[in-house]
């Protein structure tokens, strides 16, 4: 990008060596030191020196960059989502000296954005083609750029400090400090000087990327509002806080729309950072983007993604980061803490083999949903920019239960699939599709923690009441209390489910007779225990209880049970996916018909036009 304006640099940087040497690859992005080292290496390459770290120390002329553009143009090119900045910005140059740091900023943003996701070389190739474009803006040396510094008025930094910056790149950190000091007073509170300083680093980086200092500042601010980093800031609190920034309300409203990606009326920590960052950017003169810039979006999401692969061992990361992801049916703001807990459990449940388990959180949500009137709950196809979760909403609790009951009835084979419905996403899918929201992202669907299986638990409890295994199950119950990783609410629904499944296996073995049913239940318990191990990596303390009680010969049957469970689960998953498929097919038909209608209209108009 930026580097590609120089022919040589294209080649130089196609080699990953430069990036590696300057440590950017290790870090994954170009920080200030990395950038300087990279530039030094470029200068070395331009002077035909070998590219090594030692060559940096030599007295190198400044690397020459061609294709410079004036600052306002560049600022304009920065503002649009710079993911495609690779093409757009290849031709742009660095105007004023400050913009030298600019272009690396916006270059680096797509670079980094790409770097994080792809190997180094692929971004090179697309970048090398665009330099064909517009190098009408020849300006070549930094000295010239000092003229452009005057055009930085909008940025309100002192241009005079700029020309002194670049002749010595290595002292740039100091210059950035001075520039920071000259930043316009964005806010009245003195603590906000810090984020101004943080924002000054933006030109060097990317205006939509949150730097470390900024992140730190935002963290502190978040903590001042809400001590728990994993919890949410309520909308009203956030409103009061952001109103202090003295931005006009419509702009704040727009910022909110951009940053509240999961649409729950409250801000998680990443969302808060996003919002704060947008406000800071706005105060510093950047026009608000229409959609969330990728760095902000990925920055907010990456926190969650980073923790997604974390093992579910400790509850801590789950609480902190997972709460945003399953918040698809978050509705009531006033019970956000309970929601967070619920989502923790839900996430832990979602680690099951392929079946999402709706345990307590749906129950809690039922209660909350009952309090709700306004919300609707089909999963919604959010804007492409809001790539995150759609939010299933319920029209009302009554309809949820109705639709859920309907969903439960059709799969007739008695115990198993209904138990599926009690836990699985198939329930949710059915309901979701009944409300027929178009454009559901199928990849997202298997996971939505949607809706309240309250009837399901009641249904399962019917199982319990009906079965003659009841006394045996009662015996099991105290054992389940040992599953400490499930909280109480989970247990209450987990127990019935497990007992329901016990019923299934027991009923299968009715042929064997009643006494051996004790045996299947034990292995079932053990199997469920194994499942719970899937859910929570740390073995539950309940582990001791089945093993001593189980005689050795049972092992074989236990394995059989395990296999049967696995088979069952696969069948459930298949059923879910089949239903999903059929629903999508229906939607496809609908779309087809629309298309046909439009085409006929078009044809009708064509003869009209001809006459």
């Amino acid at each position: 990008m930026f580097y590609h304006e120089n022919g040589l640099q294209c080649l130089v940087l196609t080699r990953p060596s430069v990036t590696e040497l300057c440590g950017a690859k290790r870090l994954g992005y170009f920080g200030t030191p990395q950038f300087f080292v990279a530039l030094k290496l470029l200068a070395a390459a331009q002077s035909a020196l070998p590219i090594h770290l030692e060559s940096i120390t030599a007295n190198l002329p400044l690397p020459r960059f061609v294709g410079l553009k004036t600052e306002p143009e560049m600022r304009y090119s920065v503002v649009p989502p710079s993911v495609d900045g690779q093409g757009a910005q290849c031709g742009t140059g660095t105007g004023p000296p400050g913009s030298v740091s600019w272009t690396p900023a916006d270059r680096r943003h797509p670079e980094d954005h790409v770097d994080r996701k792809e190997p180094w070389s692929p971004p090179r190739s697309p970048c090398s083609s665009p330099p064909r474009s517009p190098l009408p803006y020849r300006g070549s040396s930094y000295a010239k750029q000092s003229n452009g510094a005057d055009s930085l008025t909008a940025y309100e930094s002192k241009p005079s400090s700029r020309p002194t910056v670049h002749p010595d790149q290595r002292s740039s950190p100091g210059s950035y400090a001075t520039r920071a000091a000259t930043e316009r007073p964005a806010r009245t509170s003195s603590s906000e000087r810090l984020d101004q300083q943080g924002l000054v680093d933006d030109p060097e980086d990317d205006p939509w990327r949150i730097t470390e200092e900024q992140l730190e500042y935002y963290t502190n601010q978040f903590k001042s509002l809400q001590p728990d980093l994993g919890a949410l800031i309520l909308g009203t609190i956030a409103k009061n806080f952001f109103t202090k920034s003295k931005l006009p309300i419509p702009e704040l409203s727009h910022i909110w729309e951009l940053s509240d990606v999961d649409r729950d009326g409250a801000l998680t920590f990443p969302e808060f950072c996003t919002a704060f960052h947008l406000i800071v950017a706005r105060k510093n003169g950047y026009p608000l983007p229409e959609s969330l810039p990728p760095t902000l979006r990925t920055g907010s999401v990456q926190d969650e993604d980073e923790d997604t692969p974390d093992t579910p061992e400790s509850a801590e990361p789950l609480i902190v980061f997972k709460d945003t992801e399953p918040r698809t049916s978050l509705t009531n703001r006033s019970v956000i803490e309970r929601l967070t807990e619920a989502e923790v459990k839900q996430e832990s449940c979602q680690r099951d083999v392929g079946v999402t388990t709706e345990t307590t959180s749906p129950e809690q949500r039922v209660l909350r949903l009952a309090a709700f009137t306004e919300r609707t709950e089909p999963p919604q196809d959010l804007d492409p920019h809001m790539r995150t979760r759609t939010r299933p909403r319920s029209y009302s609790s009554t309809s949820i239960e109705d639709s859920m009951k309907k969903a439960e009835e059709p799969p007739t084979p008695p115990p198993r699939p209904q138990k599926t419905h009690s836990r699985a996403s198939s329930l949710d899918l059915n309901k979701l599709f009944q409300q027929g929201a178009p454009g559901i992202k199928s990849g997202w669907l298997p996971t939505p923690p949607a809706l309240p299986p309250r009837p399901s638990t009641s249904q399962v409890s019917q199982f319990i009441g009906v079965s003659e295994k009841t006394p045996q199950k009662k015996v099991q119950q105290p054992n389940f209390a040992d599953f400490s990783h499930f909280r109480d609410e989970e247990e209450s629904s987990v127990k019935p489910e497990d007992q329901g499944r016990d019923l299934a296996t027991a009923s299968k073995q009715d042929v064997i007779g009643v006494p051996p049913s004790q045996a299947p239940q034990k292995p079932v318990r053990k199997k469920y225990h194994a499942e719970s191990q899937n859910l929570e990596a740390t073995p539950p303390p309940a582990a001791p209880f089945p093993t001593p009680t189980k005689p050795a010969p049972r092992l074989l049957s236990k394995q059989k049970r395990e296999i049967q469970t696995a088979i069952r689960k696969n069948k459930e998953t298949n059923a879910v996916l089949t239903r999903l498929n059929s629903e999508l097919q229906q939607q496809l038909e609908v779309v087809h018909q629309e298309r046909v209608a439009l085409e006929t209209q078009l044809e009708l108009q064509r003869p009209l036009a001809s006459t």
């Binding site: 704040l252 409203s253 009554t398 309809s399 439009l598």
Partner: protein
């Protein structure tokens, strides 16, 4: 495929109303206003049960020679009215429902925004975007 989309507050004043600019907007304002009577009638007729999805969607309020008017009411008595041109191939009921659902969802998002005071006119770009998407399809 709508020609005009309106959001009416509980007190029957418009929160948001938008028509295709080519048309006579005043006419649509009038149409929407008169359709409110039909909406009220349907709401009162609907009776006791809490709104579930079927009741939220009121269906075709009344057809005129030029267009048809569909209504939808939320649980908080916010009404959505969509006016559709009759000359279009008649849209299926499901399509209208899905349009209302989209509207409802965007409306909910607007309401979630703490900077939006309920009762203000809706000034949300996202909401505008959704509405434009629905109207542009008219072609």
């Amino acid at each position: 495929m709508a020609v005009c989309i309106a959001v009416i507050a509980k007190e029957n004043y418009p929160l948001y109303i938008r028509s295709l600019p080519t048309q006579n907007e005043l006419k649509f304002h009038y149409t929407v206003h008169t359709s409110l009577d039909v909406v009220e009638e349907k709401i009162s007729a609907a009776g006791k049960s809490l709104g579930d999805q079927r009741e939220l969607y009121l269906g075709l309020l009344y057809p005129t020679e030029d267009y048809k008017v569909y209504g939808y009411v939320t649980n908080s008595k916010v009404k959505f009215v969509i006016v559709v041109d009759s000359s279009n191939t008649s849209l299926r009921d499901n399509e209208i429902r899905s349009m209302f659902r989209k509207l409802h969802n965007s409306f909910t998002d607007v309401m979630c925004n703490p900077f939006h005071n309920p009762g203000d006119t809706i000034q949300s770009k996202a909401f505008d975007g959704i509405v434009s998407g629905m109207m542009v399809q008219t072609g």
